[in-house]
């Protein structure tokens, strides 16, 4: 599978040769397990750009490969027989942001059409990156989904948390308040078709 990603060409002149060799092996191994490989190349490029010593770049690439593996495992245990690369990457992002494997599995299992596991995990990871504790992140996302809120409400969660933080709430308080609201608000109208707007009540 490394033929799909020409690791030496991508990394030439950007990282030391020993890093190229390790990343090439990591890419081959990840591809064989059905994992996305681009994040591994990107992590090596990032380390090179930041002037990080070779051993630390290698450690970071290996750690990321482990997170991709863990993400794929969590998604499979959530019932996704063959999770796609986007969802695996989103799950790894969630792990990087502070969620646990069990929480990735829980969110993937809770996700519903039209917002799939990748988008759900990306929302959760963004919330965690905003400083919302992992437990509160999971609770907020789950309650929003389970309350039958519109997809846009789920995608809006990071914005809403940011707004509450700007008003003085801690990330945890913001998430807790929104989770309570999600659970108690009535379900709104179905998602609005493209090009339409919701009617504005006087």
């Amino acid at each position: 599978m490394s033929a799909q990603v020409d690791v030496p060409a991508r990394l030439a002149g950007r990282v030391p040769p020993e890093v190229v060799a390790v990343v090439r092996g990591a890419v081959d191994s990840a591809a064989a397990r059905g994992l996305p490989v681009e994040p591994l190349v990107q992590k090596a490029l990032e380390g090179g750009a930041k002037g990080v010593p070779a051993e630390r770049v290698i450690a970071a690439v290996r750690a990321l490969a482990g997170e991709l593996d863990a993400s794929a495992g969590a998604l499979r245990s959530a019932g996704l027989a063959a999770p796609d690369g986007d969802a695996i990457e989103a799950g790894a992002f969630a792990l990087t942001a502070g969620l646990q494997e069990g929480q990735v599995r829980e969110l993937a299992h809770a996700s519903r059409t039209p917002v799939g596991p990748a988008a759900t995990l990306r929302v959760a990871a963004t919330l965690a990156a905003l400083g919302v504790p992992a437990k509160e992140t999971v609770k907020l996302v789950r309650r929003t989904i389970e309350a039958g809120r519109a997809a846009v409400d789920l995608l809006d969660l990071p914005d809403r948390v940011e707004s509450e933080i700007a008003r003085g709430a801690t990330p945890a308080q913001a998430a807790a308040g929104l989770a309570r609201a999600a659970a108690h608000l009535p379900v709104g109208p179905p998602d609005v078709p493209p090009g339409r707007e919701r009617s504005r009540k006087p």
């Binding site: 917002v115 990748a118 990306r122 929302v123 990156a129 990071p158 608000l185 998602d191 090009g195 919701r198």
Partner: protein, 225 residues
């Protein structure tokens, strides 16, 4: 005088909820909000055709898709303007509400709502698409910097590839990028050497002892999360 309404009251004003949907304790606030805004809310707002033309011309100059819309994170701008300390801040301009930008200028005194939402079907259908093109504006306030660039997963972490342009001598640097749907990590590079995470964006550990900023794009006509 400004007045901040409860988020649920804002949704009432957005027409997403009715007064009856509000918890009992919020209904007086909701009624007051409706009363205050009723005369303005019912007044038709007509934007000048010339304004429309100017906005469209700006979009064309920026190379934006004609259908793109952006919104402006006014609160973030205001925080930057009013901050009494030196900060470095980046502004993401929402790609889906450019039209709302003009309207927001007209209705600035009535800033009680959140940015208008994109059509949900578009956002969700496009999620995961490989189509590029969600425009995201990055702004950094870096007084004294000689040059500023942005590097991230969208440009192979190239420190030189994506410079920001200075806005006069104000210390504000800016660039607008078309980002593909997905999650991107990035940082600013000041004077070619100093890596600066975006203080206004979510951040994660970069694995090297620093922080990377994060922007997630939900779709070409979706949003930056």
């Amino acid at each position: 005088m400004t007045r901040e309404f409860h988020p649920l009251v804002k949704r009432l004003l957005d027409g997403e909820l009715t007064l009856g949907d509000l918890p009992l304790e919020l209904r007086p606030e909701g009624e007051e909000a409706l009363r205050l805004l009723a005369p303005l809310d019912r007044a038709p707002v007509t934007l000048s055709p010339a304004l429309d033309a100017r906005v469209m011309a700006m979009l064309r100059r920026a190379g934006s898709p004609a259908t793109a819309r952006e919104s402006f994170r006014a609160g973030r701008v205001w925080r930057w303007i009013s901050a009494p300390r030196e900060v470095e801040i980046r502004l993401r301009v929402r790609p889906w509400a450019v039209g709302a930008l003009a309207a927001a200028a007209v209705l600035a005194a009535l800033v009680v709502g959140r940015p208008s939402a994109p059509p949900v079907g578009d956002a969700v259908a496009a999620f995961g698409s490989t189509r590029p093109g969600v425009l995201v504006r990055f702004v950094l306030y870096a007084p004294g910097a000689r040059r500023v660039a942005i590097a991230g997963t969208f440009n192979q972490w190239d420190r030189e590839a994506t410079p920001l342009a200075p806005a006069g001598t104000t210390g504000v640097w800016t660039t607008t990028l078309a980002l593909a749907p997905g999650q991107h990590q990035y940082a600013f590079v000041v004077d070619g050497a100093r890596w600066v995470p975006d203080p206004a964006a979510p951040a994660v550990d970069d694995g090297f002892g620093r922080r990377n900023s994060v922007v997630a794009i939900a779709g070409p006509r979706g949003r930056a999360l």
